[in-house]
Point group: none
Chain length 131, copies 4
């Protein structure tokens, strides 16, 4: 189970990485039920990514997979193509969402949005490592 | 203009009040454009209020008014009855949202949800006072 | 038929009235098909009224009635109560929308939002008079 | 910060270009918070583009990028594929939206819709140049 204090620590670690990269980010953490615990938008981070960060976190918990890997399977011609039309638009299929695990069990997820796919994924990894 | 550091301080003050009341809350802060800066859900706070807290904050900024006062004007027979059907479901017309002001100018808003209307408004006031 | 030049003149007249009242407004004009021709938000007008002004205009054309009169019939207990839930949330039932007529025929509508119901209706009347 | 007078000048410049191209357009301008300031539909411009022009403007501000460039990154197989499913349908990923800058800072955006992607982008450029 993830506590608010965990979410804050995860977000702080993600933001530290974002600062190192010089790219401001939106960072969200959801719990085991996929429900938002905490969210922060860094100064000058993209407004359109407020929604995306939260949805990447939800998606990673909803399918217990990184959104990067889900995305690889969701391109035109691949097995999950079209999954982004499900769940009333909550499914994000590009990098930045990573499940959060405790003792091998998924207990939530982090979602990051504000830069390139490589940057978002890297910042999410830094956040996830703080749990 | 509200910074992330301001939003954190506002949320911390709101949570302190919520703890005093013994009622866990969802707390959101939006900026001048109505866009979310930060959000936190305290342990055991209502899941359905994740959305409501954010929308109360948006509503307070969108109409530069507390959602308590807006609600008073939006009951059947009053001048704004029906406003809750506007803005694609983003308008909340019950207590818990308060505009945030700097030098008399609205620069954002706080939205609180998780208890009675009186509790929500009281927690939002405590948060707003921290700006 | 309403032209873009008509819409501009209507909006200018509405804004002139809004300035006299000292209350900044959002003003929208729709054509015979209920489709938006032009919209302006005055400095410091409510953000939440961007949507409402457009929907008041649509509503007035959609039912060929002022939203003030429609509202009177749409309170709890009255004959149209519940109409605000129709048309995917596009129906506004409080003052500020007025049909635009040419030779007795409705050719469009103006929608105004940003103040009290009395102010909005008054500004919409000033706009409509310019056609 | 963009004022209503700026938005009018931007729209006028865009419409002048649209007239030169002989293609009527819908033109929208949003501010720093992504909120609509002004909109105009030229005579005989596509009705379906009323919505698209506004959403292109929002998208360009939300991601601080032209919708043309965002679109290039959002095709199947590219890093942002799926972004059009985010933000409740507000993200447009084809040409016509351009951020508006003052002293290197994004202060809003213009969105144009009514012709081919090349035409829309060209008209948006003409509008943006007027700021």
């Amino acid at each position: 189970m993830i506590q608010l204090a965990d979410a804050r620590r995860i977000i702080a670690a993600a933001e530290k990485k974002a600062e190192e990269l010089g790219q401001p980010m939106n960072v969200a953490v959801v719990d085991e039920g996929g429900n938002l615990i905490a969210f922060e938008r860094m100064a000058n981070a993209w407004l359109g990514s407020i929604d995306i960060a939260q949805k990447k976190a939800w998606t990673s918990r909803a399918f217990d997979i990184t959104t990067k890997d889900l995305g690889d399977n969701s391109q035109s011609g691949n097995q999950f193509f079209g999954i982004h039309a499900s769940n009333n638009g909550k499914v994000m299929i590009f990098a930045g969402g990573i499940p959060l695990k405790k003792e091998g069990k998924v207990v939530g997820a982090i979602g990051v949005s504000g830069g390139s796919g490589v940057q978002d994924h890297s910042v999410a990894e830094a956040g996830a490592a703080a749990l």
